[in-house]
Structures are given as C-alpha cells and as structure tokens.
C-alpha cells in the first residue's frame, strides 16, 4: 500500500494534528518509505503464534480503599486556562 495525501489527511484527523504543507510533503515520503519497510513483517509466518502480552498469575490489584486525592490547587497548577476550580476548554458543541 502506498501513502497518499488522503491517508495523510486521515491520519492527521486521527492524531489531532494539522501539519504544514512542508511537513505533509516530508511525511508523505518518510511514511511511505517506513511503512514499506515495516511491511516486511508479512514475510514471516506467524500462523497460530499468540500476540505478545504479559500475563501474571494474580491480578496485582489494589484493595478497595479510598485514599486522599490531590489538592485542587496542585491539580490546576499547570493548567493553561482554569476558572472556578475547573479546566477551561472552548465550547464543545
């Protein structure tokens, strides 16, 4: 499969990016080359090979205990925009 402008556009949307024209051109070439190379995996027979995953015997889960939370001031300290104790975003609808 080849990388084209349509795919770049779609990937931009999935990734919430807006590339400059230069970047688009650059990535068109790069991604094409890289993906061609990555497709070499298809040369390996992996039928019936399980996908890698870490499996542990026990859940390594926590007890259901409520612990203290962050001070609200700390939570919002790095926020680019906050008001009334909340993060602020532009209108979502």
């Amino acid at each position: 499969m080849r990388v084209d402008a349509g795919l770049i556009s779609y990937l931009e949307e999935l990734s919430a990016l807006s590339l400059s024209e230069d970047e688009k051109l650059r990535l068109l070439g790069d991604l094409d080359e890289i993906l061609q190379y990555m497709a070499s995996l298809s040369g390996l027979d992996t039928q019936n090979i399980p996908a890698y995953s870490l499996v542990y015997d026990n859940m390594n889960a926590r007890e259901d205990v409520a612990t203290s939370s962050l001070d609200r001031e700390k939570l919002l300290r790095n926020a680019p925009k906050s008001a009334n104790g909340m993060f602020v975003a532009p209108r979502t609808v």
Binding site: S15, A16, L17, S18, E23, D30, I34, A51, P80, A89
Partner: protein
Amino acid sequence: MHDMSALELSAAIMAKKIGVIEAVDAYIDRIEASDSRLNAFLCVEKDKARAKASQIQARLDAGERLSPLAGVPVAIKDNISVEDMQCTCASNMLGGYTPVFNATAVERLERAGMIVIGKLNMDEFAMGGSSETGVFGAVKNPWDTSRVAGGSSGGSAAAVASGEIPLALGSDTGGSIRQPCAFCGVTGIKPTYGAVSRYGLVAYASSLDQIGPIGNNIDDCAAMLSIISGRDDMDSTCVLESPFDFGQEACPQRLDGIKIGLPRNYFDAGIAEDVKSAVMAAARELEEAGAVVEEFEMPLMDYMIPAYYIIACAEASSNLSRYDGLKYGYRSPNADTLQGVYRMSRSEGFGLEVKRRIMLGSFVLSSGYYDAYYKKALQVRSLIKDAYSSLFGRFDMILSPVAPGTAYKIGENAGDPLKMYMGDIYTVSVNLAGLPAAALPCGFGAKGMPIGFQLVGSAFSEGKLVSAARVYQNRTEFNKARPGGEAL
C-alpha cells in the same frame, strides 16, 4: 573528588572527609564551567540542591545510615518527574510544566540520601537516537563536541562522561540508555521490564520503557539500581518482589563456567570495522577470564526493527494523545475552537520526529491495518521473546555490539529517519523481549570516539550481568578513561 566513584564519594562523606554541601557545590561548579560546551543540562537547581544537602548532612551527622550512595549528587533525565522541577521532555509541548509529584524512582533516590542537582537534555519525548531532536539544542559528545552524544539519554551520558555528575538516571525504550553510554564511553544498565517502577516516567512506549542508571562504573550503577528497583504500588507492571541486592564481591577477576553467546550475524554487514574489533576484543577478554564464548546465529534479525517501531509508535501515539492544550503544557494562542486548540497546540507543540511517530502509530492501529501491522508485530514479538528464552537455555548471557558505529557528526543523519531507526538493530530486541542489559565501554574507534558493548541476560538476571561486568572492568581500564585526556 571527580576522580572518585560515587560509592567512594559516599564513603568519604560518611567518613566526614567531605561534606555533602561541599560535594554538591563542587559538581555544580563543574557543571557551570563545562555545560555551555555540552548542553547536557536543561536546568540546575542550585538552591534546592544545597537545601537538600543540608538536610542530608544533618541526618548523617545524627548517625542515620541511609544507603551506600548517601550524599551523592545525581541528575535526572528530563522525562522523569521530580516534584517542583521542570519536566519538559525537551519539547515545547511541556515547556513550563512542573510535576506535582515525584517519580517513584526519584522518591527512592531521595530517601536514600542522594541529592537531585538538575534535569538532563534528551531527544524530544525520548524519540531519537542522538539527542538532536530536543527543542533546546543537541547534546554534544564530551569526547568531540562536533559529534552527537547518542540518545535519547544523551544528556545523562554526556554529563557523566564529562565528570559533571557521578550518576544519572536515564530511560531506555529501544536502546536509549545503552547507545549514549556506548557513544560517550560510560556504563549503563537497562533493567528487566518490570524491575523498576515507571510511575512518573513520561510514557513513550509503555510496554518497552524502563528507567535505569548511568555512571562511570558498574558498581555505582548497580548501587543505584538496588535503590530504585522493586515492587511499586503505583505501577501494575512493576513486579520484582524485592529490590536487587548485588552484594559486595571483592574485585572478582574470573568468570569460570559462564557461557556467553556471540551472535555472529551481528558482525556481518553494516557494522564499522573499529566497532567490530573492539567488541570482539571484549569477548576475548571475558574468554581469558574463564568464560566459554560460543558463536550462534541470532534469529529474526530482519524483523526486529519493524516490530519495534510498529509497537513503539502505536503505544506512543496513544500515550501522547493526552497533550491537548487543556490540562497542562502548551496551549496554542492561535486557536479558539475545540478542534483548533487540539490541533494547533499539538502541531505547534510537537517536533517533526514526534509527529512522524504519532502518525505512524495512528496508522498501524487504524482499522483495516491493525491486523497486518500491529497484531503482526505482537506476534513477531512473541517469537523474539521465545527465541531469547531458547538462547538462555544454552547461554548465561549474550554479548553484542550496542551500535553499528561510533558517534557521528551532529546533523549527519538528521534527514533520514529510517537510517536512524536502523541504527537500533542491536538494542531493540532486548526491549521487545523485556530483558536486562548492561552497556560497558570497551575501546575507542578510528576517530578516537568511544565504543561500547552490551551483555544481555535472561529476565531478572541482573546479578549475573553485574558480576560479569565487574570482572570485565577489573581487568580493563576503558571505563576509567576521561575525555580531554584525563585518564583516572
């Protein structure tokens, strides 16, 4: 003082020959004198360090025994959270971001009495093999400042190599501790996946990332690894029951009975002659120390890089989605709609290499391509892991090069991402299989640049690796060499 190892420094502090503040000041002076040349440090927190040093001094004076590294200054790669210090990941996206919590590894170092001096330069979001992609400029190799320090923990390796700091924390996802160690002639350990907590490490690829030590010798690194390793309630993947205890072997010189595998196909094509001979020489050194070195054919070599990059980019694309301009970090002033804030903040905040990997990651996870790329890569990963398991049935450890060449000129590989990726051929499979590896200096190349090799072990066999590394460093002098001709 800069001639001492970190362990020796701590012993001197305990023996009251040196004060903690004195040590901190000496290293800060050194940094101030040399770092403009190297660009290893992104920030030096002099006041905080001195305040901490007083506290530690007081506790030591009161008779507390904190750890074998108590009182020693340490610097932290700028993708590991230190409370109230910057954590930029060398990116505009996190410019001005200050964590409100410590990474567990940092917490443990501080509890052990180490003093955090500052944060270290790196590739942006740890994506790179040269420490050139960060927005604060490239890290220069102390052996030749026109050359790269390696990456992504270039700042950590350069700072240690130049004597600016005795020990540093780095992170390794596909070679990011080992390769800069090799390029800068210092020692480093990439621990087994799950040995050290990742809590507080800004995630690049969750199933591959590990925090590890960089220092001048294996004992210093081992001492630091002991402190930071072991179970953590905040990280579900950190499962090592208790921290490593490497014991105190007195100058071991022999490795009798140890079986070391040498992957002959790693030396076939693409490796520089000087690197090849230095690594082979290291193998011979260990043979002379009593180890049995046997050649073998490393399977799946052609599939390591594609599998690694597919998985790493996929996880990265998801891990970096949280940077959206709303909760922390950079928010574009050029946007006022929601989509605008997302897209402009991310496009202006991230550098090109980061964007490239995010796009790649989104692609391999997208519907229609998931099976052929991501799922396939996970299957290849299983095969690689199984291959190593088999090998460790035959060998105690595997000896291999770290990089195909020595440190190249700054800017030389900038335009060719795929070529950069291929440079990770010897390191990525270790992360894919979740195994430990120690990188040790073993010589110098044609241009006088350092060369390193790695010893790879089975899961949680760091003890064996440290023993072998001790033997190697007792029999050779490479880790004692310093740039600028100052041999120790």
